[in-house]
Symmetry: C2
């Protein structure tokens, strides 16, 4: 451990700053390493094609709460969030490894439920569980999943290759996972105050489903392949649309113009946001955990791409000097910011 | 969580029983999956060659103790134990991912020390850090490392392919990592009782080094490749020589005869075991965390193989009906058991 004098707290750097500090001194030794730290997945040259590899760490009471998330759902989601990173490279996942550390609070039956969820995701996405590690923890459940996928070399989609005049598209609808989580947190407080109250989610089923059981956009990657369209850049939306567009534009050294009226927000999301007295647009721009895709395509491909159900054209890539802007329905321009451009 | 009625404790199944129960229901969807759960690494067909992938989870106070293990050493060892699994497939590691979860007890400086150790191992073994995840934990430090390597298809070494009459070889010397750990645990108790006492390890440097800073046997894999010898079966020694020989023989459906006098035990290990009043042979057979290799080769290759420094011929594979035996210096035969054939 560091001495107390000269001790720097991790929160002073933030997650991205910490990763930069820890990984910057590393050098690359192997010519099979095409892309290391800094994209949704790493890229390895196998000779014939690229293998992509991605890993996520899920920690109880940081990433999931067993008060309302069944273990089966946690297992399913742990796989899906990794597969989403593989699809975000325009690749097809084939294998996963799953390592778990768990306290003695967990029984064989509980862990079996977790693995039922992992297996359901493996079956839905046609991936194989090929390895892992199981060990004890002193407190709580820790799940580390690594996913491996394949992509033809000419089809890989990085973050840093968006070009001026490309169209920006997103899949699905945004803001719903964030609101689903708020609903679950509210019901948890109600339940803790009065354990006889059982929540009903009749009006919010889809929002709650999206946060507990997200889907990875396998379908979109398959449809893009069928069209023979390769996105010029792509990411999955895990930290929020604004944050991901900031990554793509910064790493590609370009700007962006995004139009509020084209951002997909469902009526249910809109109404729920209003009920919580938060701005629906802010939910859509800053809500994380969506696992939708944001990508850029050449304008000549746009007509084909937006014919795919669930794909929306939300803006365009512009020169870096034009900045990163959101244009409101009223026609005003605001700076796009990673943590929401209006305050909650 | 499972209901209390019908609750089965994990310890009732043990680690291998739990893994079997959790992973047995899974099916394989992809023809690129050559080997899943059940060897040192999974094996994936890339077309040209095989990619092998292995993962280990290291948990504070389960796998390492920061009272005596510097964070730099922990980082180094976390990488090495994974690379050892790659070498155990007769493969060459190229890439790793590292995910960590840590409590707010850890500063940026502490985590930098951990990554200094990770980087030192990457440089020593010429592997590239290509990804990972960093997150919070409520308590302690969790490290999940995944390693990826490559091997020509005809050269991969599984556990389940040892053949009757093959020679059994081990690398290095055995029992030292176990004794190194006992020394550290003893000194920890002394230190806890009297913090002014500082340990000196003058007489035990090599034992302590082996438990804190193990090496993976890259050198042996390179020398076997130079000889163009492919082991008929191979594992690394993480749970103890007896346990690994039991895995190889059970999975290969063969028996084994191992000779006490040929098991490599250094004078230092012998003397330290005697000081602790434990049987040196038992340390060598049952001590884990060695990261040496145990492998079988065709008898026609044996002369070349034992000419490699640090490779020892300790016995032979026999028919399954002949059982699994250790032959003592006195000529007595005992059953080889996974947890030591003499009691401590």
């Amino acid at each position: 451990m560091a001495t107390e004098k000269g001790r720097t707290e991790v929160k002073e750097l933030g997650e991205f700053g910490l990763i930069e500090k820890l990984t910057q001194p590393f050098t690359i030794h192997n010519e099979t390493t095409i892309k290391g730290v800094g994209d949704d997945s790493a890229v390895i040259d196998t000779g014939n094609d690229f293998m992509v590899i991605s890993t996520d760490f899920l920690v109880e009471n940081i990433h999931f709460d067993l008060t309302y998330a069944p273990l089966k759902h946690v297992g399913y989601k742990a796989v899906v969030v990794n597969l989403s990173d593989i699809y975000a490279m325009n690749a097809v996942p084939h294998q996963i490894t799953v390592s778990i550390a768990f306290s003695n609070r967990f029984s064989v039956e509980g862990l079996s439920e977790l693995y039922d969820g992992i297996r359901a995701a493996c079956d839905d996405y046609k991936v194989d569980l090929v390895g892992g590690d199981t060990t004890s923890s002193l407190l709580g459940l820790y799940i580390s999943v690594t996913a491996v996928g394949r992509v033809p070399k000419s089809k890989v989609a990085y973050r840093n290759t968006a070009r001026v005049n490309d169209a920006i598209c997103v899949t699905g609808d945004l803001g719903s996972a964030y609101l689903g989580l708020q609903i679950l947190e509210r019901e948890k407080q109600v339940f803790l105050a009065n354990p006889d109250m059982q929540p009903t989610f009749d009006q919010q089923t889809e929002l709650v489903r999206k946060t507990l059981l997200p889907k990875a956009r396998k379908d979109i990657i398959e449809k893009l392949a069928k069209l023979d369209v390769t996105p010029t850049a792509m990411m999955d939306i895990s930290d929020g649309l604004s944050s991901e567009i900031m990554h793509i534009t910064s790493q590609s050294n370009v700007g962006a113009r995004v139009y509020e009226e084209q951002i997909p927000i469902t009526e249910q999301t809109y109404n729920q946001a209003v009920e919580f007295q938060i701005d629906p647009l802010n939910c859509a721009l800053s809500g994380g955990d969506e696992y939708e895709l944001v990508f850029t395509v050449d304008q000549s491909d746009l007509e084909d791409v937006i014919a795919i159900p669930d794909v929306h054209h939300i803006g365009n890539i512009v020169s870096v000097s034009s900045g990163k802007k959101i244009i409101t329905k009223g026609g005003n321009e605001h700076e796009l910011k990673a943590l929401g451009w209006r305050h909650f």
